[in-house]
Amino acid sequence: MSIEHRDDTGARFGMWLFLYTEVILFSGLFLLYAMALSKFPDQFSVGSHRLNIYFGTINTLVLLTSSLTIAMAVTAIQRGRIKLTLGLCAATVGMGIVFLINKYFEWSAEIEHGIYPGSHHLAEQGSGVAAFFNLYFFTLGLHGLHVLIGGTLITVVAVLTAKGKVTSERYTLLENSALYWHLVDLIWIFLFPLYYLII
C-alpha cells in the first residue's frame, strides 16, 4: 500500500493566503480611488453619471448568481453527483462569459462616445473626470481579467472532473477554483457601488 501525502486544509489555506494578496492588490486601486474621490468629488459624480447603471446592475446579478452555482457545485461534488457538478460548472462559466460580453458592449459604447484613457474628449472635461475614467478602465479591466482567469480555471477543473481526476474524495481543486471565483465576485461587490452608484 502506498502512502498518499496530501493536506487538503493546507491547500485551502494556501489559496486563502493567495486571495489575501489579491485583495491587497485591489485595495491599492481602491486607495487611489478614495484619494481621487476626496480631491474631485463633483467630477467623480459627473463621471459616474456617464456610466450605464443597467449594465452594472445586470452584471452584478450575473456574478452573484454565478457565485451561487459554483458554491452549489462544491456541494454537488461532495455528494458525488458528477453530472450535476459539471452542469453547475458550465452554468458558472456561462455566466462569466455573459459578464464579459456585457462588458464588451458597455466599453464599446463608451469608447464610441470618446471615453477611453487619454482621449481628447476626457481631457476637455477636466482632470477629475479623466482620473475617474482612467481608474475605471484600469480597475474594471483588471477585474475582467480575473473573470477570464477564473472561468478558465473552472473549465479546466470541469474537464478533470469529467475525466474522474476530481472526485467526491478529492475535490480541493474545485474548492480552490470556487474560492477564486468568489473573490472575483467579492471585488465586484465593492466596485459596483463605487463606480456606478456615486451621485
Binding site: 496530501r6 493536506d7 487538503d8 486544509t9 485551502r12 489555506f13 486563502w16 493566503l17 489575501y20 485583495v23 491587497i24 485595495s27 481602491f30 486607495l31 478614495a34 484619494m35 474621490l37 476626496s38 447603471i53 446592475t57 452584478t60 446579478l61 452573484l64 448568481t65 457565485s67 451561487l68 458554491a71 452549489m72 462544491v74 456541494t75 461532495q78 455528494r79 474548492e175 470556487a178 474560492l179 468568489h182 465576485d185 467579492l186 461587490i189 465593492f190 459596483f192 457601488p193 463605487l194 452608484l197 456615486i198 451621485i199
Partner: protein
C-alpha cells in the same frame, strides 16, 4: 477506520443547496437596497452606506459561499490579520493626505 478519520480531518459536511439559495436571495435583496439608496441624495453618507452594504454582502459571501464558517480558527485569524493590514495602510494614507 483510517478512511473515515481521513474524511473527518480534511473534508467538510456538504452545505445544503437551500442554505446557498437563501444567501443568494439575501445578496439580491442587499443589491436592490444599494441601488435604491444610491438614488437618494445623502451627501457624503452615500459612500459610507454603499461601503457598509458591500461589507455586509462580502461577509455573506465569505462565511457561506467560501465556507469560512466551517474552516478552523486559523482561517478566521488570517482574515482578521489581512483586514487589520488593510485598515492600517488605508487609514495611514488618509491621515497623511487629509492632514498634510
Amino acid at each position: 477506520m483510517s478512511e473515515h478519520q481521513h474524511e473527518t480531518e480534511h473534508q467538510h459536511e456538504p452545505v445544503p443547496f437551500s442554505t446557498f439559495v437563501k444567501v443568494w436571495v439575501g445578496l439580491l435583496i442587499l443589491t436592490t437596497i444599494t441601488v435604491i439608496v444610491s438614488r437618494i441624495h445623502l451627501g457624503a453618507l452615500n459612500v459610507w452606506v454603499a461601503l457598509g452594504i458591500a461589507s455586509l454582502k462580502s461577509s455573506l459571501v465569505i462565511f457561506f459561499f467560501m465556507h469560512l464558517r466551517q474552516e478552523m480558527r486559523l482561517f478566521k485569524i488570517g482574515l482578521l490579520v489581512m483586514l487589520c493590514i488593510l485598515a492600517i495602510f488605508i487609514g495611514f494614507t488618509f491621515l497623511d493626505v487629509l492632514y498634510r
